[in-house]
Symmetry: none
Subunit: 247 residues, 2 copies
Amino acid sequence: MKLRVVLVEPLYEGNVGSVARAMKNFGFHELVLVNPCKIEDFGSAMASHARDVLQMARTFAGLPEALVGANLVVGTTGKRLDEAQHHLRLHLRVPCFTPAELAGKLQGKEGTVALLLGREDCGLNSEELALCDMLVSIPTSSEYPVMNLSHSAAVLFYELSQNDNGKCCQVEMARGESLALLQERIRSLLAEVSYPVHKVEFTLLMLRRILGRAELTEREARTLLGLIKRIRWRIAGCGKPESPEQS
Amino acid sequence: MKLRVVLVEPLYEGNVGSVARAMKNFGFHELVLVNPCKIEDFGSAMASHARDVLQMARTFAGLPEALVGANLVVGTTGKRLDEAQHHLRLHLRVPCFTPAELAGKLQGKEGTVALLLGREDCGLNSEELALCDMLVSIPTSSEYPVMNLSHSAAVLFYELSQNDNGKCCQVEMARGESLALLQERIRSLLAEVSYPVHKVEFTLLMLRRILGRAELTEREARTLLGLIKRIRWRIAGCGKPESPEQS
């Protein structure tokens, strides 16, 4: 899936630069501007290390030209409940997906998706919405639903980029054997500290759940095993301060 | 779950205002600033209709004061792979969750979560990261991983705001004092089992993170405190099998 970001008549160059930055942050590069404001030093500064995205952006006078070659056109729309009375307008705006639902829909798809973001003050108009195959809306607070343009963009890029990459940091999860060994050693430790027999199973389960929820790494499991070994050695030896490493 | 947004030494007032706006967009209101830049007209303009969030923000000189009363401290960290060589630094930064994983973890929890966002140029430093129970990192492109502060904030608020929609049983999270007491008792235990001095800080931090990721309930914290008390009593008494309950 290739994303083409289409800004329709953006009013502030700072927002255009910020959108370019957010695009590059999430691995997107194709920016198209429809009848934009002038983009000068401030827009370029806001793009920061994504100036290349801004410089390679294509500019068109109208929306239809900006959509040539797109397989799917997705429009973004905010909460504008006051407009909902009008039948056609309502139809234009619903049903729409959440960003997560949109990402799910596009998962594993090939082709170019044009994502339309409208003007800062009034979004996409009826004719523009009519060109969209699908709508997406970010669930916001009814108290203040109007997001900054580049914030909306960042949230959408974030969701759409999840389709490609997985977790943020790859860390080796604890192996099943290590977790089983931990349970066994904790059980021995409980016996050695005369833990009340009727509480043993409860506490073992509780510890298993705590460690399970923490999603232990293999390294952490080994450190815990080392710590328990040392405690048990200390209890067994009772006051002999030799190192347990040799045992 | 109540979210407290903590900006640590933000450099640009525009970002502070933008974060306030994104907070209100997603229904969050408690903003805390640690040693911030001056916030004047531009910051206020960027906050737009969230000026009230900015005006009600509390300001502190240091991070510890800003965390008083928080049940869980979550640090945000970007990709800084060049630092990964250093042992403690690596440990300070991994493992971390994606925003979606963090939202899943916090689902259905009660209590105050402090979400720390660091400086625009260098994020949170090692001492600040050491105060965190959990880390979150937004998966970004390796080509340009450094996001604008308010964009990161918007993505995090977006994910965390989804939590209120879902229903789950409410569980009392461990109190800050209980977690602090656990740290203190584990430190004493490590000393009593002659844990290698050069490993103590590392292991304490690791345990803090494990317990943080597990999001201990108050009941679990009390059970762990009881278990540690019993172990320490067993070590001190060396072979006297009386119950510690009376002690």
